[in-house]
Assembly symmetry: C2
Homo-oligomer: 355 residues x 2
Amino acid sequence: MATSRLRDVAARAGVSIRTVSNVVNGYAPVSDETRSRVEKAVAELDYRPNLLARNLKQGRTGMLALVVPELDVPYFSELARAVVTTARHHGYTVVIDQTDGEPDRERELITRGASAALFDGVILSPLALSPADLADRDASAPLVLLGERIADSRYDHVAIDNVTAAREATGHLLGLGRTRVAAVGDQPYETGETAQLRTRGYRQAHADHGREVDESLIVGTRRFHHADGARAMAALLDHPDGPPDAVFCYNDLLALGALRTLLSRGVRVPDDIAVAGFDDIEAGRYHTPTLTTVSPDKATIARLAVDRLIARLGDRPDEPPAELWAPHRLVPRESTTGPALRPTDVAARPGQAGH
Amino acid sequence: MATSRLRDVAARAGVSIRTVSNVVNGYAPVSDETRSRVEKAVAELDYRPNLLARNLKQGRTGMLALVVPELDVPYFSELARAVVTTARHHGYTVVIDQTDGEPDRERELITRGASAALFDGVILSPLALSPADLADRDASAPLVLLGERIADSRYDHVAIDNVTAAREATGHLLGLGRTRVAAVGDQPYETGETAQLRTRGYRQAHADHGREVDESLIVGTRRFHHADGARAMAALLDHPDGPPDAVFCYNDLLALGALRTLLSRGVRVPDDIAVAGFDDIEAGRYHTPTLTTVSPDKATIARLAVDRLIARLGDRPDEPPAELWAPHRLVPRESTTGPALRPTDVAARPGQAGH
DNA sequence: TCAGCGTATTGCAACGATGCACAGGCGGCA
DNA sequence: TGCCGCCTGTGCATCGTTGCAATACGCTGA
């Protein structure tokens, strides 16, 4: 059956279009008799409002866009889940799109998609976007940035304290008595301000412990995937001064990749080399050894971003851009402390009883 | 700046609204002089077409919806990536939504969202939806179903041959000489037709090898997450007849969860117990041991689904519903064959900085 | 000079819905 | 009896865009 319109329902019920609209939306007072006649017609014609038309008229869509570089990177998919859930509580639907880190794609999404009235607001986790790209943008739909990049822009911005987090993670390794702690995941500024911040924290931790940084132990990776970590670890094992005795990876995928290289070569973790990651993805909690990591509070990140967006859409459209910080915590697990210390860590998993 | 409209651009350029529209869309012939004047005004006002209005007028949105139960389950996020990529080649944007397996949510999305003209088509991976729910649906926007459920419905449907795949995986384990092969992930029909099919394949493999199925080795799980697999494996280790010597898990998360239980208890894999999974998620390729699994061809699944949808949107709207099958293959890795057999299975090769 | 034609530009209606303000009918009260 | 006001229900304009078809214009050829 072709989609029916208010007009069709009105004709069938013998009332005006306007009255049908009132019944559907429960706006104005409608007599019981008219109401039931309209409802009958609605049911018979299987009428459903055309949201495109409604949204056009109302000037809002009830949809938020979440733009992330890669959906199949667990950090992003876990974050996406949090955002979707939070937004739903506010009555918003979240649509997700991935950019594959292509600047064109990111640009297109924030301009075409967002300021084209399709979305009421946008949450963007930029990977390849420069400040210039953003400045360029017409601010028709509010935008909240996730992560570190472009912190100086005119947009709201949610992040964790990457420097401190990296400092804590590195400090944890140094505190275990490791003397040669490598860093895996460094990136040049253009593509990875976040990486830069973590490197800064890595350096600070060394300073805290009165240690020199061995620059040759800072390994860059092009991306943050398993393969990059595995490759970087292999390179570190061939280090001219011998392998390091600990590795801080800038995310958990790198760390799991590094672990693969180590374990498949018979290196003992953490006895020979301790490994720490970043993001606290679920896979790390079930790996053997379980993965020590920095756990950003994803639920809070999602909440801050969504709340902010909704505030701008509602009664506070003109507040100055804010920098919002979400908490994080270091979660020591077997990959640094060994199995003895936390034998039941695997059991830990947030309950998911219904609701 | 408030969003500008065709009207504003027209006023500024001193031409009619219609001409601006023509310039923007490149439709009708426009003199170079007029064109440049309009383009100047467009730039000055930072005009961008209101897609809501355009879509309303044109009756299409260029957006497809992908509805999956859980985004942070790697199988779905990897599939989502494939769908997004494929659709982009056809000029469609994919918006993703997750249902958390809630029937209400799934229902809402396919009815409200889809038949409300927001999306041109929907790809749905249903978890909790009954045939009745679907029958109920007005077929305003084409729908393609992923996975096994509701195969008898009036919709296009893309799946892999789960029975054969499970049979091959189980056969692989039996072929290795294992005699007590457990199955983890069975579910009652209402929530898991896919699980039922895999159990059927598991039984067939036993028949192939002339073996009885020990019903007590078939373990049900409520969901398909790490935790479920870890729990099920723990239960199997306490089996009254002693642990099994192989386990076929109905997805990779279950398998990785099972591996966690085994490895943390010092059980040797695959020497003592071999483990196989299903889905071929990236994490399994970097686990130690690497995970033997059934690899569904996600790219083909995505392609079949998107192509089908687009065919219906285009010149073949009225073809009868089809059952489309995507290939799969068994990928033996260390968790069943041991490291000796495939020492270089891990993607990473030593050395190689940058690229 | 004018019919004839192609090019450039325009006005009007429509997509399907909602905001606003008012029309019609009824009962209550003076 | 007549006026007022409430309760229902409605018409019109509008959101920003595009489809259609007509207009205005300039140029060619006879």
